[in-house]
């Protein structure tokens, strides 16, 4: 193989979208496996009472929203989205924290509460989760802005 031939796949790899790159997909499988294991362990360890407020999923989703908001803002404000910064964003952010939190479990928990006639708990759980989740993300984003802003000045 000549040097030219060897260089072509490199250029292709660099311009190819991230979601088609095996190295990034491997990073996601690894990060997602860690986040999912942690969630699964917590759900197993602190099982919630049937018909009650699903505290474990609630806590996971709120904490994950806060951490992801802080992580993405810190990365975005301290340098370009390339190299290790991008690998951390994808592996730790999209993979681990994205896989740690879950929307499907949350939504099915709400539907099961509604189906069992626990309408007030179901509706409250749905609304409070989204509002507190977004609030936690705001806190993460603004907190990271404050910290990175101070460091920069």
């Amino acid at each position: 193989m000549t040097d030219d031939q060897r260089r072509v796949p490199d250029v292709v790899a660099r311009t190819r979208p991230l979601y088609t790159r095996p190295s990034y997909l491997a990073l996601l499988v690894l990060g997602g496996a860690v986040g999912t294991s942690l969630r699964s362990w917590l759900e197993d360890r602190y099982a919630t009472v049937a018909g009650g407020w699903p505290w474990v999923t609630f806590a996971i989703n709120v904490v994950g929203s806060l951490v992801l908001g802080a992580l993405l803002t810190s990365l975005a404000r301290t340098g370009p989205d390339a190299g290790w910064r991008r690998r951390v964003r994808v592996g730790l952010g999209t993979g681990t924290i994205g896989g740690f939190t879950t929307y499907s479990t949350f939504v099915v928990e709400v539907d099961l509460l509604l189906r069992d006639g626990r309408v007030v708990t179901g509706v409250a759980y749905a609304l409070v989760s989204v509002v507190i989740g977004v609030g936690a993300a705001v806190l993460g984003v603004l907190g990271a802005r404050a910290v990175t802003g101070r460091r920069a000045s």
């Binding site: 997602g32 294991s37 929203s65 929307y103 499907s104 993300a137 993460g140």
Partner: protein, 121 residues
């Protein structure tokens, strides 16, 4: 063994989410719609799986691997929250309204999708 399968399935789910989000983002929609599509489809499938597992004992292992693992890793709450904040803090007109619509719309459609899945399952 089941722990390893749940972890691996969650990893595959996260990678699948990245691919679907990338494919949707390539079409450059005005709002981030990838996460909406992911959470709605994942909620429908988990509703279906939960419905099936409620009626058929012996599906507990499968529900753990596909439900907690694959679909839990595929769907994401944290990205949904951060996207709502990003939309809300952007400079555009009515950004707060758009953020509420994004978060509220995703919630309502996902709840309906999961309910449909539960009903079918």
């Amino acid at each position: 063994m089941i722990t390893v399968l749940v972890a691996l399935a969650g990893g595959v789910g996260a990678a699948l989410r990245f691919v679907v989000d990338g494919l949707v983002a390539r079409r450059r929609p005005p709002l981030p719609l990838g996460t909406v599509l992911i959470n709605v489809s994942g909620s429908f499938l988990l509703g279906l799986l939960t419905g099936l597992a409620l009626d058929h004992s012996g599906l507990d292992g499968l529900k753990l691997v596909l439900g907690t693992g694959l679909l839990g890793g595929y769907t994401t709450f944290s990205t949904a929250s951060v996207e709502a904040v990003t939309i809300g803090l952007s400079d555009g007109p009515r950004s707060t309204v758009l953020a509420v619509l994004h978060a509220g719309g995703m919630l309502v459609v996902s709840l309906a999708a999961a309910m449909l899945g539960l009903w079918l399952g």
